[in-house]
């Protein structure tokens, strides 16, 4: 009895220290967010490090201007949201300087100028915008290319389909679900050079400037340093070297992968480190969330069958709220919405936010079946225990709970598996778990089928192991 109490206290202490560490570390160094899949501006190289024009420019400037930063690779949409919610200090992600964005952000001097192009599948007959009538166009949310394509929509009469990252967008065009996509020219040409089966069929439109962004009125000093550093690296030739390196070379020489590593096994061994760390993150999240969700679920279940009206009402309300909310909405709310509400630069590390999200959501589901399990225990059991003089909580713990939990074991196993799978949704707040690892690897080598097959097999293996373990525990208990 004492032992589990100690464990709970330790777990809470660990959580607390995470908060403190998370908040402090970010106070000293700048946190700068970038996109995950926007080669050649940013992409993950073999071994999990990030490379690209943006990354190298930032690194060169920070050296000149003597500031330290922590790079946070998340989706472009999340990066922009987090900047406006003051969760990060700056964003460098091939971000176009637009009048609209200037309302919320302050931009550096432009560091790159690029235009938007239209790309179609290699064998496609589409040659110009006028061929798009009635067709579907794939766009990446929040990009300048998307904004530009939107202005063409009413004139050329096409349908729009949105994606969160470039690779899924390219793929959709490649397999023929969509007929065309719009993308920044350097990004598109880099991808095609590296094996994406698309072709560019338009010239560059709506040329725009890329800028480094900070939240309006904040981090003026960082912006000043960036501008000064940019001027220096342009003057001493560093800038040109960086751009040439990425635009005039093929991907493999940058990511360190060889052509022979494109077999299934080759890809697996090449990416073992990245996949391994993604898998580890998934397992860590799963185990901690299962523990927390089970504690919360048991509490909600006990509250739900308590005599009187208040306990059950509280329990039902909590279950109703967190079971009803889509996991992704809850994750965004806790990671971005909640700190925004509190203000004062309050930050939650993504891992902690992810854990809380899973705890609340899975805990609500757990609470519902725990309540049902306790209610399924015959009323006579409680009466017999109470008539012996056992107080309510003792009767609950010694008589009702052991019987109820036995009824619930299959539901628990089921919930554990769901929790494991749900961790993949947390990639939206930038947690690099197994699924996100897949996205990142594909972003640089475009081997969608093989990598997703690999990831799927890994999930199935863990779920099989988890099921075996649970069945073994179940046999032991009965």
């Amino acid at each position: 009895m004492k032992k589990w109490q100690v464990e709970v206290v330790m777990l809470l202490a660990a959580l607390g220290s995470w908060f403190v560490v998370g908040t402090r570390a970010q106070a000293k160094t700048y946190t700068i967010a970038t996109d995950t899949t926007f080669a050649p501006f940013e992409f993950q190289a073999k071994g999990g490090t990030y490379k690209g024009i943006d990354i190298d420019i930032l690194k060169a400037i920070s050296k000149r201007e003597h500031f330290t930063y922590q790079l946070k690779a998340i989706s472009f949409g999340a990066a922009v949201q987090q900047l406006s919610a003051d969760q990060v200090d700056g964003v460098i992600a091939g971000m176009n300087i637009t009048p609209e964005r200037k309302q919320t952000f302050d931009f550096s001097n432009p560091y790159y100028t690029s235009g938007v192009v239209m790309a179609v599948a290699k064998g496609s007959k589409i040659k110009s915008f006028s061929d798009l009538k009635g067709k579907t166009v794939a766009l990446k949310t929040g990009t300048a290319a998307a904004t530009y394509a939107k202005t063409l929509q009413s004139k050329y009469g096409f349908k729009i389909k949105y994606f969160n990252d470039s690779n899924n967008m390219y793929n959709d065009v490649k397999v023929g679900n969509s007929d065309a996509c719009f993308e920044d020219y350097p990004v598109m040409s880099y991808g095609i050079k590296n094996g994406i089966a698309l072709k560019i069929v338009s010239k560059q439109y709506a040329a725009g400037d890329y800028g480094f962004a900070v939240k309006k009125g904040k981090n003026a000093e960082l912006l000043k340093k960036f501008n000064a550093g940019l001027k220096e690296i342009k003057a001493d030739g560093t800038y040109k070297k960086i751009v040439d390196k990425y635009l005039h070379s093929s991907e493999s020489s940058l990511t360190g992968e060889t052509a022979s590593s494109r077999t299934f096994v080759g890809l697996f061994t090449q990416n073992l480190g990245t996949i391994g760390s993604g898998l580890w993150m998934t397992l860590e999240l799963t185990v901690i969330s299962i523990i927390l969700a089970t504690i919360l679920g048991l509490a909600l279940g006990v509250l739900g069958v308590m005599p009187g009206k208040i306990g059950p009402a509280i329990s039902s309300t909590i279950i109703y709220i967190f079971r009803g909310m889509p996991l992704m909405v809850l994750a965004f709310f806790i990671y971005i919405g909640f700190p925004d509400l509190i203000g004062h630069g309050f930050k939650i590390p993504a891992f902690v936010a992810g854990m809380i999200t899973l705890m609340l959501n899975e805990g609500a589901y757990t609470g519902a079946f725990v309540k049902g399990g306790f209610a399924a225990v015959d009323d006579g059991q409680m009466e017999a225990a109470r008539s012996l003089g056992l107080p309510y909580w003792k009767a609950m713990r010694k008589v009702i709970m052991p019987q109820g939990i036995r009824i619930m074991i299959p539901s628990f196993i089921n919930q554990f598996i769901i929790t494991l799978k749900d961790t993949s949704i947390l990639s939206v707040i930038g947690i690099v778990e197994l699924t996100q690892t897949g996205t990142l690897i594909i972003a640089r080598n475009f081997e969608g089928f093989k990598i997703w097959l690999m990831i799927a097999i890994i999930y199935l293996i863990i779920i099989t192991l988890l099921t075996w373990l649970s069945n073994w525990v179940q046999r032991r208990i009965n």
Binding site: R386, G389, L390, K398
Partner: protein
């Protein structure tokens, strides 16, 4: 002072008044049997005596403790009243021995060792020495009920309540359970027994109480009740029971 004092006890479920003003006193060492038609409120009455049901009105005093008094520790009172249910309500996840030792050890009445020794003595009394390590689901109904009685006795209660302890049993099991109850009565236990076993009532009861329509209609020595019933209600009831 009487062991059990009930004064003007009322109990309603919503608009349905199940108990309509009962008065009863049970003395030390007395065995009271309650008989009456189904739905007359016998179980409800019994459950009011250990606070499993809260009376709507009236007073229940057990060994000097007034149950309606907020300051009364109901768990202490319950330690003094054992209750045996029609459907046994053994704890299915615990062995026979653990069923009996759970309350004494949890309530710090005795050490694990003492509790087990006492449990084995009690099992011997109810004739189930060989079943200490069995799980409840492997027992027959009669054996389950005898374990339930042993479990209640482990708290050394001063009063025992029985709610139709033999109604759910096959006829050939009834005798074993009744024998245990007779032994208890002979040892001087104060008992209130709701039963349809008229033979047991005649033989063991000091007093028989006839309940109908939420009220005590008649009470007296077994001979008075069974051989000289006064009210037509009781005569009618006895006719039906004896003709079954």
């Amino acid at each position: 002072m009487a062991k059990v004092i009930v004064k003007d006890l009322h109990k309603s479920y919503a608009d349905n008044e199940v108990l309509k003003g009962l008065n009863l006193e049970v003395q030390d060492n007395e065995v009271v049997c309650m008989i009456g038609p189904s739905g007359s409120g016998k179980s409800t009455f019994l459950r009011c005596l250990n606070d499993l049901e809260v009376p709507t009105e009236g007073q229940v005093v057990i060994s000097g403790y007034d149950l309606s008094d907020k300051g009364t520790n109901i768990n202490l009172v319950r330690e003094n009243i054992g209750m045996v249910f029609q459907h046994f309500n053994l704890f299915p996840h615990l062995s026979v021995l653990q069923n009996i030792t759970l309350a004494p050890t949890q309530l710090k009445k005795s050490s694990q060792e003492d509790a087990e020794k006492m449990a084995r003595d009690l099992l011997a009394t109810v004739g189930l020495s060989d079943k200490a390590d069995a799980m409840p689901k492997s027992l027959s109904g009669g054996q389950k009920q005898r374990v339930a009685i042993a479990r209640a006795l482990a708290m050394h209660p001063k009063i025992m309540l029985f709610d139709e302890p033999t109604s759910a049993l096959d006829p050939e099991m009834v005798g074993d359970v009744l024998d245990v109850m007779k032994k208890l009565a002979a040892d001087g236990m104060t008992m209130i027994v709701v039963t349809h076993e008229m033979g047991f009532a005649k033989e063991v009861a000091d007093r028989v109480v006839f309940m109908a329509d939420g009220q005590i209609q008649e009470s007296g020595k077994p001979d008075e009740i069974f051989n000289h019933p006064q009210s037509p209600r009781l005569q009618d009831f006895l006719d039906k029971v004896i003709n079954v």
